[in-house]
Symmetry: C2
Subunit: 377 residues, 2 copies
């Protein structure tokens, strides 16, 4: 049996006030195309399908479209759980009515013990258990227990699923949580403050596969069959070197066989460019990826007029600008440097910047005269 | 064939800042109980299912619950269209996946020409065509035509449905619009300004039944088979004498047979009480419906201290207070009346109001002395 494990789609997300919906649409089209060419038995989405509990209409339409293609046209079952960004009740609307069409949205604890059972020749019956995103408060209220940490909550839930599981079936668990020791990215929203959101991978070890969501970097933790697929695409500049995509999982009669990352490429990558303005502008002229979403770090040591405007003339999607070059040695020198530069020095910098040529001797004299008159007053 | 025609549920509505969800839940439970005892072939909801395009979670949960009972437990198909209060794309999420479970949400014009076809011995095949709420702008954009009024838009849509319709089937049209000449209520939101939202009933005359939504008073318009079921419950005090509920429709081989209103009763009625404070307080003590949502019109002609507090002691759900009694003859007399009343007169009124007894002779002397001292200054 082969299935796709994906998570953290964050449909409707904005990045530096830019909507990412077109990129999300393009990346999901690649996912659909993959399934079309490489049929799988199921597609799992391990939470954070939307970026927020009340998603924008455009995100709802995109999810609807993707579901229509995967469940409808390609006749491939989908199993979804809400993450900490999703509104479980909103996402779960009509879940009961959608089951027969192969769309399984598992958004409460009762449904957690009603696994989606799929059959294949290679692996026999496989039971997919979805654990909706569960902070300790929710678990305490829903199950009338006294758990106080994410770890205790997940230990209890995993145990409940294990008790329910049939030995004649393989078991896949879907969960949205932070497994202790796994690597964070900048684009995740913490589940709680101060590290109390960490969950031990030990609770998950007995499953045949654990499809995790929440962390945006693809990774395994504790064992090869306990994995994060990572987010659908990059959601922060700190992820510029991540390979994003989904995980293709294979099970057989003996359980876990393999988990292979498959890359998806967003039309706009998120990249950091570092260098002096002129170098960046020059390379931009021939950069085939000049439409990428960029953070630019200008290393120039002198002031620059309207750098954003200049950069956007070649890289239209510069979303953020840093000027660390302006800060080099700043602690020691800033006060004295400012004081030691005369008005005429500063005007000369400004003139070069605006006119792109040096002051002529005559211009230099003229501005000197004016400044002298002014400073003498 | 028998089906239920209902509309304008407005789930999630607030009334004078009070949530009506408990009343909506109770009324819908009566609807479900009716179907349980009197099986029908379908339940139609002709728009304004939610009160707003982004409904509160509690409203989504209630709709989910009702759908689960009607489509699931009672195995009765439901056909829903969005109204002007609903967000069509939000409401339409997963519609394709829900069809097989008997839940039909018709939220775009393509789906309008894919009728839900139900069969019965008495009426043969009946095609239910849902016309999602359509202002002229939407119709213009979706169908690339030049309609400019609601009337033209609905004429065109009805004509498209008629062209599609098969002569071997009965046709039921579901629409959310304002049929010209029908009676408005205070709780409807106008579809457009200045009467340009009116639609002629002539466009609908050839259908076997037209299930309308938008107007909150149950009524027929133009013919017995073109009907508004009215809203689920009262949504303004002006509707105090409306009978709310749903319409039970019967069709046979020859088409329309009957449409019978069936009443639903909200736990809290909306009523207007008119009279003097003491009379209302007195009757409240034995009023079995003292928890109703009330507008109270106090006819007393003198000032009353804290009337709301007094009323709510017996009628906890007084939501609005009017004092027309205070205004009688006010135009002529107010200025002179105020001026002609001495301080001692006003204090006497106040004392009676607070203490519920007259000033004693001694008290009268004391307050007179104090006032005299003060006014002499």
């Amino acid at each position: 049996m082969k299935f796709i494990h994906t998570s953290d789609w964050h449909l409707g997300r904005q990045f530096h006030s830019v909507s990412l919906i077109a990129d999300q649409r393009a990346v999901l089209a690649q996912l659909v195309a993959f399934i079309e060419e490489n049929p799988v038995d199921a597609v799992i989405v391990a939470g954070d399908i939307y970026d927020r509990s009340v998603p924008p209409t455009i995100a709802i339409e995109l999810l609807n479209h993707v579901i229509h293609q995967i469940c409808g046209t390609l006749n491939t079952p989908m199993i979804l759980i809400p993450g900490n960004h999703d509104g479980a009740e909103r996402l779960g609307f009509g879940a009961e009515q959608m089951k027969n069409a192969g769309l399984h949205i598992i958004s409460d604890f009762e449904q957690m013990l009603e696994p989606v059972i799929l059959r294949s020749q290679s692996a026999g019956e496989v039971a997919f258990y979805g654990m909706p995103y569960s902070d300790p408060e929710t678990v305490r209220a829903a199950l009338q227990t006294s758990v106080s940490t994410h770890d205790e909550a997940h230990q209890l839930l995993a145990q409940k699923v294990r008790e329910h599981a049939s030995p004649t079936q393989k078991q896949v668990l879907i969960s949205h949580c932070f497994v202790d020791g796994a690597i964070e990215s900048e684009s995740e929203r913490p589940l709680s403050i101060g590290g109390s959101d960490r969950v031990s991978h030990e609770h998950f070890i007995d499953f045949d596969y654990v499809a995790l969501g929440h962390l945006h970097q693809p990774q395994q933790k504790g064992a090869a069959h306990i994995r994060y697929s990572g987010s659908l695409m990059k959601y922060s500049f700190s992820e510029q070197h991540h390979k994003k995509g989904f995980t293709l999982v294979e099970l057989n009669q003996d359980g876990f066989v393999s988990a292979e990352p498959v890359e998806l490429t967003a039309p706009h990558e998120m990249r950091i460019l570092e260098g002096e303005l002129n170098t960046i502008l020059e390379q931009g002229k021939t950069d085939p990826k000049h439409l990428d979403y960029l953070l630019v770090r200008l290393m120039d040591k002198h002031a620059i007029l309207n750098p954003m405007e200049k950069l956007r003339a070649v890289y239209p999607n510069v979303l953020h600008l840093e000027k660390p070059g302006m800060l080099i040695g700043v602690e020691q020198d800033m006060a004295s440097a400012r004081l030691s530069r005369s008005e005429i020095d500063m005007f000369r910098d400004f003139f070069v910047e605006v006119q792109d040529c040096d002051l002529s001797a005559e211009q230099e004299r003229a501005i000197s005269d004016i400044i002298n008159q002014l400073t003498r007053q």
